[in-house]
């Protein structure tokens, strides 16, 4: 893809010259929780490699989520037909649904027989065909719980640790957000999401190199690269990492399907849009230290700003 094409499809996250946490959700139009991009084959191959070699890190579910998982898989299959008929053929035969993935040449069967835990679970099976990470939040007792998920591309967190956790506790490590009124507002907002009105928001961080899988489990290896950044290599190595997150209410189980599509753009690619680059610099420069640390950029902020200063002067 040309840089122009890359920039045109990139979900640039900054609306202003400064960044603070907010509930930046907007109604999702069109209401589709998945996106097939030109990176599909490459990312699916990586996802499957991770699922095959690190199952316990990338997939967790509690037994009571099976029906909600099926509902989530059904929603995604329905969207395959509605939005991507050129890539997926879906045949319904009573309880049984056959999904033919034309991109990989595979047939996947859903709904035959009893749901079993493990690799036969609907969320696991459907997740192998989409670029998104998929999280299921169950709602009960006035609270949201992360009760199932397939997570291959996390930004420095652990599904294995967070499984079964309530919404507030999940966000404990986020500076200026945990225990704040904003977090409580966001929690209430999610709990009121209705089936016909999905929402979307963008989340961002900075990462080194084009690496999608940056889980907490391996931070000692990928985190080290943050020390290697200089003003000279920042353009190629620093990437703006944007998660397009989508929230769908599943009416039968009253759960929330939370899909995360991660996009990476190097600072060099970002320089193809000078207005974006200027805004990006302003955000990086102004970011409070604790937020900068949480977003992963504290170790190289100085080198990156020096790079951006030279780049914008040209």
């Amino acid at each position: 893809m040309t840089v122009t094409a890359v920039l045109e499809s990139f979900p640039f996250p900054f609306e202003e010259d400064t960044f603070r946490y907010s509930n930046n959700s907007v109604p999702l139009e069109p209401p589709v929780c998945i996106e097939i991009t030109p990176e599909y084959r490459k990312e699916i191959a990586l996802k499957r490699r991770l699922l095959d070699t690190h199952f316990d890190r990338c997939y967790r579910s509690l037994p009571h989520t099976l029906d909600a998982q099926r509902e989530a898989a059904d929603l995604i299959i329905e969207q395959f037909s509605a939005f991507y008929p050129e890539h997926f053929a879906v045949v319904h035969d009573g309880q049984r649904t056959e999904v033919f993935n034309k991109l990989t040449g595979e047939k996947e069967i859903f709904g035959c027989g009893k749901l079993r835990q493990g690799e036969e679970e609907p969320l696991y099976k459907i997740g192998r065909h989409v670029q998104e990470d998929l999280i299921l939040m169950m709602q009960r007792d006035g609270e949201l719980y992360l009760d199932a998920g397939q997570l291959c591309f996390p930004a420095n967190w652990s599904l294995a640790f967070d499984i079964g956790m309530a919404f507030g506790a999940i966000h404990d490590p986020v500076p200026r957000l945990s225990k704040s009124r904003l977090l409580e507002k966001i929690r209430k907002f999610i709990m009121r999401i209705e089936p016909e009105q999905p929402w979307t928001r963008k989340n961002w961080s900075l990462t080194v190199d084009r690496q999608l899988d940056t889980p907490l489990e391996t931070v000692s290896s990928w985190g080290r690269k943050r020390q290697e950044i200089t003003p000279e290599n920042a353009g190629d190595r620093i990437h703006l990492r944007v998660e397009v997150q989508k929230l769908f209410r599943l009416p039968a189980s009253h759960s929330i399907l939370f899909s995360i599509h991660t996009h990476l753009l190097s600072v060099r690619e970002l320089a193809g849009n000078q207005e974006w680059l200027r805004r990006f610099r302003s955000v990086v420069e102004e970011l409070p230290d604790d937020v900068a640390a949480y977003k992963g950029l504290a170790p190289f902020r100085k080198a990156l700003l020096e790079h951006l200063r030279l780049e914008l002067r040209r």
Binding site: F161, G164, A169, P173, L216, E217, T218, V219, S220, G223
Partner: protein, 143 residues
Amino acid sequence: MNFEFAANKRLYLLFGDEAGRKMLQEIEKTLAEKELPFERHYGRSDAAQWLSQQKMGSYLYGAGRSDWVDQMKRLAENAGFSEEEMQWLTVGAENKQVFCSGCHAVQRAGSRRRLACANCGLPLSVSEHYSTFHRAYLGYPDE
């Protein structure tokens, strides 16, 4: 270590596990002398429900073993108690369970803030991030 008396509360809640009962005796005596309303609650079978039923203006004194206090404090927070509306005392040494972020093993850290994972050897630093599901604190890689 002892509880401080917090004045002008609508109702005082004395909350402990078996090990914590003793530590609540003194504050109970104080409340009785001042003729203030209090309720006792020992054990934890319905703790979450009991905590969530409490009215505004209740004040919580909690005492017990370290892991019990960790869990109950979280439940109390979920039920809407703020830091200013509760006091906690721990019986015996602090002995946090730690979840290794590298290999997922759960182990006792005693009172250490830093330790090497007994399973994979990763140097860990004990965080404040707590999982009621694992009953353990997250151990971050110690850089």
